[in-house]
Amino acid sequence: MLNKLKEMFRKGNDNEITILSPIEGQACDITEVSDPTFSGKLLGDGIAIRPDKGRMVSPVSGTIAIFFDTKHACTIISDEGAEILIHIGLDTVNLKGKYFTSYKKEGDKVKPGDLLLEFNMEGIKEAGYDLISPIVICNSGNYSEIKTHTGNKVKELEPIIQIMQ
């Protein structure tokens, strides 16, 4: 019953999934990322945020599918089925969890704005890593179009990606 009501009141078009910004910062085109894994869209189409704040929140209502042991990245499956990978910085897998504090684990249900991770921006920068953080839709191929809103500063939970079914 409750789910039916939620369904009725869900905002926007049913054929669209909106991804909100998990990080406050500058929204950039994914092709600007210096790692070809992301700029070449190997892991899917998306966007990148240059963080202004060391916080990552959930961009959708969904479930944590993967939280890497090294805490530098996680994947969330939205309630509609979009597979969203958020990767803090580039090559940060090599930090093996240093400078990252996670607040959720695999299997947890999350709502937009739930705190997932804090990261020490200064520490990561001083260790020599680029903080630019790709946010990609791993199952992009299932959708007709991935629209991104780039070029602006965004706060947490501002819309950054529109997925068309």
């Binding site: 190997l42 993967i66 994947t75 990978l85 897998v93 199952n139």
Partner: protein, 85 residues
Amino acid sequence: MKELRYVITDEIGLHARPAGLLVSTASKFDCNIKIKNKTKETDAKSILGVMSLGVRTGEEIILTFDGEDEEKAYEAIKTFLEANL
């Protein structure tokens, strides 16, 4: 049906980048390709699936290939694994 067993030697395991490369290699072929480790089995053409295995260094993965171009897929994946992981 062909089977390929491989022990991951990359220090960090099968993380995001190699998972993406593995999936893009697998996706070039029409045959069904499954990948499993000791915890689960998944579609080798799904980025999320492959990443969710959380394969670490020293761990064995088993890939199975089933379909018309399984020989070609087997060779391509074997070459990829030996060169990258």
